[in-house]
Symmetry: C2
Subunit: 356 residues, 2 copies
């Protein structure tokens, strides 16, 4: 039975990547050692981390004005780290569009003032507030957004303009669509959705912003430490970075981000078109804010939601349960989910509706 | 050709563990998903992280007075995190026995006062200073030691007594010998030497010490966050923890830490006995401080050191170069290095001496 894993993350990886990693797991390039056994300072490993960075730069068209860093701790560590490095007692604007943007704002409060410049909390985060309603601070240190909200199932279609550097948590839609990195001061993303296994965050930061980093920030929490040492001040998460190298090799092979975006659009359109065609399933998300990565929906009752998740699993469609904070169902359809997975899901949904 | 990898870390892992991980890499327990693709909140992954913790507790005989945590960032992140959590502007004693203990002390200075209570710096860290010469503070918040010094090749045979909680960086000798965890306030270790791949630190902390953690510490840097959420407040480094579960399964299978210590002692004795029997190779480390994990030595010249490392590599004995800060040669012989590897190294050393 073909299995399609709709987990919100850690999530499925491209089959071809998994098979390549398996094949060389114990014996990388005839060294009789696995990649995870290699010294990070050795001749075999150095090209791997260099390739991961080069691939990221090429795929996202990143200029030399930006540093590309691999930092352990996931996006949650970035919530405090970015404020620790870039806020310095000043005020930052935070757009409140869901659970994760709230967590980011909470950590920033430890290092300065936070202005919640907009919020969709009152309507349960069912949309991205229109930019012309945002209440931006004068002289904000930065403006923080969450480009895709994994729990609520919303996503920015365009990005706000502001005088302050724009900082985006792109954990759940990085490399899923073409963006202009130059529009951002910093982009960060936990790896475990579109990029590879869990265990690090990708950080893309405009180099001039690092001038703000104070000497009192601990070494491992300073962006400058990573930038000055090619993310090798200490031992990086070598195997996770190797997987990133393989995943980004694959992205290049299949045509880069633009090609991926096309497939992602097609997958999302299939699923939303189906949802719009039936009244059995409903989605709480406003149309113009719908995420192309995390599609949230409900059946007519909580009991049926639970039965849907269980029956789907029995048919090889796994991890369709909504986030524990909101319930319902959720299909995460990141880069690695083939369109066949979405087609199989829709077939199952039709059958489930008929039999319910 | 059999290859023995003497890397100081990331280091070789038990062959059996690598083969098991490879076999189920793409299909864990018939799920058609690899472990790195599994949701950390799912039914398949939860038992893995629970088993990793249970194995650590069983192998090290850890009581319920201690929390066992998995924290991203390696030991270097612990240098600041422990001070951020436990120092609070007070004074801590740091034993200066090498590069890594210095780095730990440096980060602590950001959060309080550091008293260097002893140092072997003047003799290039060639020994662990005798405890009766240590200048301990009254009312220190804690006493910090580095139980094994990877670069200098020294190791504590016994541990100092102090009124303050003893905190040990055991990155390079954790689980290599039987210790009494109750003698310590906290133990931490980067995983990539004896425990698994790089990407996290194991932290074992006496629960009462966590009462010191201030509310102003960022969420991801608080030990309490990990303790209250079984290291799953956010997505843990799922694959690295899975490897820890496999490695510790293996340790249990082969008789636990006592059995491992016996083999480690035998391996180290073989190598040091040989070093003592020849004047071609020398080791700068004082006899009673010799590390059983990292055996440092030199040939008569830097040129021969380089030739030794290159020729050994050609014979399948890899990564014998000393740390870039000190030069020379180094054989790291952690738990996963079989005694056959040490025997092969000695045979090579004899041959190299004869031909030099």
């Amino acid at each position: 039975m073909a299995v399609y894993n709709f987990s919100a993350g850690p999530a499925m990886l491209p089959k071809k990547v998994m098979e390549k990693a398996q094949a060389e797991f114990c014996n990388y390039q005839n060294s009789e050692c696995g990649v995870m056994e290699l010294s990070h300072r050795g001749k075999l490993y150095a090209p791997i981390i260099a390739r991961a960075e080069a691939n990221v730069r090429e795929l996202m068209n990143i200029s030399d004005d930006y540093a590309v860093l691999f930092v352990q701790g996931g996006a949650s560590m970035q919530f405090c780290m970015l404020a620790m490095n870039l806020l310095n007692g000043n005020t930052a604007d935070y757009a409140e569009t869901g659970v994760w943007s709230n967590k980011a704002a909470k950590e920033a409060k430890l290092f300065g003032n936070v202005n919640i410049c907009c919020s969709s909390k009152e309507t349960k985060y069912d949309h991205i507030p229109a930019f012309d309603t945002w209440n931006l601070s004068d002289n904000a240190a930065y403006l923080h957004i969450t480009s895709n909200n994994t729990v609520a199932g919303t996503q920015y279609r365009t990005f706000p303009k502001s005088n302050a550097p724009l900082i985006a948590d792109m954990s759940s839609d990085i490399m899923s669509r073409v963006i202009n990195v130059n529009d951002f001061g910093m982009i960060y993303a936990g790896a475990q959705k579109n990029l590879g296994p869990s265990g690090f965050a990708l950080v893309i930061i405009r180099k001039d912003l690092m001038e703000r980093v104070a000497a009192t920030v601990p070494t491992m929490l300073k962006y400058t430490t990573y930038a000055e040492n090619e993310s090798m001040f200490n031992t990086p998460p070598t195997y996770a970075v190797y997987m990133l190298a393989l995943v980004t090799d694959y992205f290049k092979e299949v045509g880069g981000i633009a090609a991926m975006e096309k497939v992602n659009d097609a997958k999302a359109k299939l699923l939303y078109d189906y949802l719009d065609s039936t009244s059995f399933y409903t989605t709480p998300v406003q149309k113009d804010s719908r995420s192309r990565m995390n599609v949230v929906f409900r059946t007519p009752s909580e009991e049926l939601d639970a039965k849907f998740v269980a029956d789907a699993k029995a048919c090889g469609l796994t991890d369709l349960k909504g986030h524990r904070l909101v319930g319902g169902c959720r299909a995460s359809i990141y880069n690695a989910m083939p369109i066949e997975g979405v087609q199989a899901l829709i077939e199952f949904m039709k059958k489930f509706e008929k039999e319910a």
